[in-house]
Symmetry: C2
Subunit: 504 residues, 2 copies
């Protein structure tokens, strides 16, 4: 058809990185802009051969593009499998009908299962803009999804992606609700329970609102971006793995939503549950232990919030054939000493190796959770899980298993250290009565974590400790000087990150 020839341009790689959002750069005077009426920020369908996606238009009024050229951002270039000069077709996209479901939700209507399926399929197909995803997340915010909606959202997210199947039974898993900096028990738990013979093919995510996700931390010790075939080989060989789930296409819409959640820095109860459960179901897990840290500045502020989320996770999990056990834990202060990928990896290694400087709180928490997994997976009698976990850790069996898993994933490596650091000191003597998790996490993020793996901070004092004036409270590490300054300035402007009360 001649219409196709008329509405096509030659693709050019402009080398512009706009992250996940595909952008097409089109000359204002090109035949397509003129005949089709596209303006800046119009949404268009791009097609090269049999690859197609929805992109946002940026209109170009200069000579960075030649006649008949259209520039593609990196995300668009890769998704279209484009080559230089390839024939690019530009069409009006179909309207995103499912967004009317989001509008209805904003006006207090409930989502139907069908509506949620349509929304998630449309997101999967790249039909939602960032603005529309932000509206969806906000509409689900707080506790605005009920159990039926949470179940339907979970199913929809599983369906819109790949699912793994394992020959073993049970397939155990562990997840943390998050919001507690440094709570990096996963690699330790995987090492313990696989040393006990359970199968635990662990897929982890990168950070959403924290200075490091498990995948970010683990990547400083071993490759985590494995293909499915590579992951299967590791699990067959060692019984477990700790890999980044993002490359597996397990509930991939969750990853798209995470990209939007990150700058917004909030979660919703229902969407949080759907996010966790859909990943576990897609990964082929049958039994999952969920760690729920509770504290005034953790993600779960109090035990009522924890009970609500716990009920939702157990009930929705049960409807979907997933046995869920929740474990409430102390979320009043960070776990371990490090915040940020490398700093947290150092804590994990210390616990696995049983060195003298291993943080006792991380040790205790990992043993408790691994015990729960061992019991849920029937590798230990009820009440005997913790003791078994301790034995496997103290004997070095877990450390040997961890090294074997890292080798199978591509080789254990030594994390590199940050180029810059600065100590933050106590301004007054007294007793530390509280540590503000969120502000402390922000310091680590301003220092560059998790994008800069060696960035973050090391805690030098904990709650209930007595400190002198001028004593080091924590050390900020950064890879770039500008980021160190910025984190230090923020820390100086927020002395209340550590609450210190004068002795009576």
């Amino acid at each position: 058809m001649s219409a196709h020839r008329d509405s096509s341009l030659r693709a050019r790689r402009l080398g512009i990185d706009t992250y996940q959002e595909p952008i097409v750069f089109m000359r204002a005077d090109c035949v397509i802009c003129r005949s089709e009426g596209f303006t800046a920020l119009a949404r268009v369908r791009l097609t090269i051969d049999n690859h197609s996606l929805i992109a946002t238009v940026n209109v170009v009024h200069s000579d960075i593009l030649l006649d008949h050229e259209a520039g593609l951002s990196e995300a668009a270039w890769h998704a279209l499998a484009a080559r230089e000069g390839a024939l690019l077709r530009v069409d009006h996209p179909e309207p995103v009908e499912s967004f009317s479901q989001v509008r209805g939700k904003i006006y207090q209507q409930r989502f139907s299962a069908q509506g949620l399926r349509a929304i998630i399929q449309d997101m999967r197909a790249g039909r939602y803009s960032g603005l529309q995803m932000a509206a969806f997340l906000t509409a689900c915010g707080g506790d605005r999804l009920d159990l039926d909606e949470t179940e339907a959202l979970t199913r929809a997210m599983v369906e819109a992606g790949e699912t793994l199947r394992w020959d073993a039974a049970p397939v155990v898993d562990k997840h943390c609700v998050g919001g507690l900096p440094g709570n990096r028990t996963t690699p330790i738990i995987v090492a313990i329970v696989t040393a006990a013979g359970l199968v635990m093919p662990k897929t982890s995510s990168r950070a959403i609102t924290s200075p490091a996700g498990t995948a970010d931390m683990m990547e400083t010790l071993a490759p985590v971006a494995l293909t499915l075939a590579q992951m299967r080989r590791v699990v067959e060989q060692e019984g477990g793995c700790i890999v980044w789930g993002g490359a597996m296409q397990l509930a991939p819409v969750d990853d798209l939503l995470i990209q939007v959640e990150r700058p917004l820095d909030f979660d919703s109860d229902g969407q949080l549950a759907a996010s966790m459960l859909s990943k576990k179901l897609a990964a082929g897990s049958s039994h999952v232990v969920i760690d729920m840290p509770v504290g005034p500045t953790a993600k779960l502020r109090d035990s009522a919030a924890a009970r609500n989320l716990s009920r939702r996770l157990i009930e929705v999990g049960s409807r979907l054939g997933l046995a869920v056990r929740t474990v409430c834990s102390d979320g009043r202060q960070p776990v371990g000493r490090g915040l940020g990928p490398t700093a947290e990896a150092e804590d994990v290694l210390a616990v696995l190796r049983g060195t003298a400087d291993a943080p006792p709180d991380l040790y205790a928490r990992a043993v408790t959770l691994a015990g729960a997994v061992l019991e849920l997976g029937a590798a230990a009698q009820p009440g005997e899980g913790e003791a078994l976990a301790s034995r496997l850790l103290n004997s070095g069996a877990a450390w040997r298993k961890f090294q074997a898993i890292c080798e199978a994933q591509g080789g254990l490596r030594k994390p590199h250290r940050a180029a810059h650091q600065v100590d933050i000191l106590a301004r007054e003597p007294g007793i530390i009565t509280a540590i503000h998790n969120r502000l402390l996490a922000r310091v680590a993020k301003l220092a560059g974590a998790p994008q800069a793996p060696a960035a973050g901070l090391i805690l030098r004092a904990r709650c209930n400790e007595q400190v002198e004036r001028g004593q080091v409270l924590y050390t900020i590490r950064a890879e770039a000087h500008g980021q160190l300054d910025y984190a230090r300035n923020f820390a100086a402007a927020h002395p209340g990150i550590f609450q210190i009360e004068a002795p009576a």
Copy 2:
């Protein structure tokens, strides 16, 4: 300071139009990206001389930029008053502290007046990204703002902009809640009430979710993008004007929010009231009549929704010293025959001129609302407003006044017609029982309205009319062939836009 020299680049205009959102394009290997750790989509503060703003980073991996160059999008270029090669400073922006208020609202907390002021000031300063504004709008969605929050939001929006003061009293105004295509009474009302001697300095907006705003429609007849000084001159001379408010910096945050609302295509009750009232207060109005069309597919679905919004407008207006009168009107089908800037202008001209083809529903509605304004402004006794309005319209006094206002604004002009059109036909004979406003508006938008002024549609049949099979229901007009096709395809896929029941 050397830090400033190190963290500066040379500005280059890349000619890339990203609409309102300022973008800075930086080479991945530039000294700033390397030392400061900026990645794609990082938010940064840009400064040239004494101009400063927050922009989003796109990282460039190609040679479209030279070493030490940073490219600016058109929005960033203009806001920074940049020149080619100007010294550009790039810093980390302060965190947007006020966004924690939005997060709180998502978790069911109320906004404080102080919190809303901080949010609106931060938006005014360009500190909110599009995603954050989408989250704010969604958090306010439905009826999630109470009266106190609506009042505080209104005040905050007035404070974050310019305000006009007029020597006259009263200063009357009129507004329509919207959602009813073609309801273009404003130019007629201004002509009538200024012909009666009242002062009505009307500032209008462009379309949010409709195929045309009053400013879009009026622009096809006369210049509307006047400066404040030009507007004052018109009002002093003629007692009234019909101009685009966007250039006046009246409650300018409203305009930023509109840019995000447009692709999301929804409003919130409280934010809608704040948007309307803040514009009226900032424009210096003392008495305002608000037209509230009610119908199953209008913005206000039923009389309960209208009562709620009406109560909110009157109560919040009264707290802020603005006399508000609401008038409920029939919102079951479009008013007049045209949808889209030019098509609606044709209807307005027909009513003002009193030609035989003037749409009677638009005439009646304009007279009712003008009557209400005349009474509220004490230019007519209670109950006598409509009769006076009719006399001024029928005598040609309003038409003469309208021409004088257009001349004062820069000259009355003739709208141009669309290059392409197609008729949509009835598939079955019967009685038209309903017209779906939203879907019909979408047809007009897909045809290119309001960006393409001559795009839109002309209704050829109305509710309660009998039609034959093959009779024309409406004619779609477009300026580009691709847009005509797209609107026609959508119309063909949605025959229910006109509900036609077979005769019994």
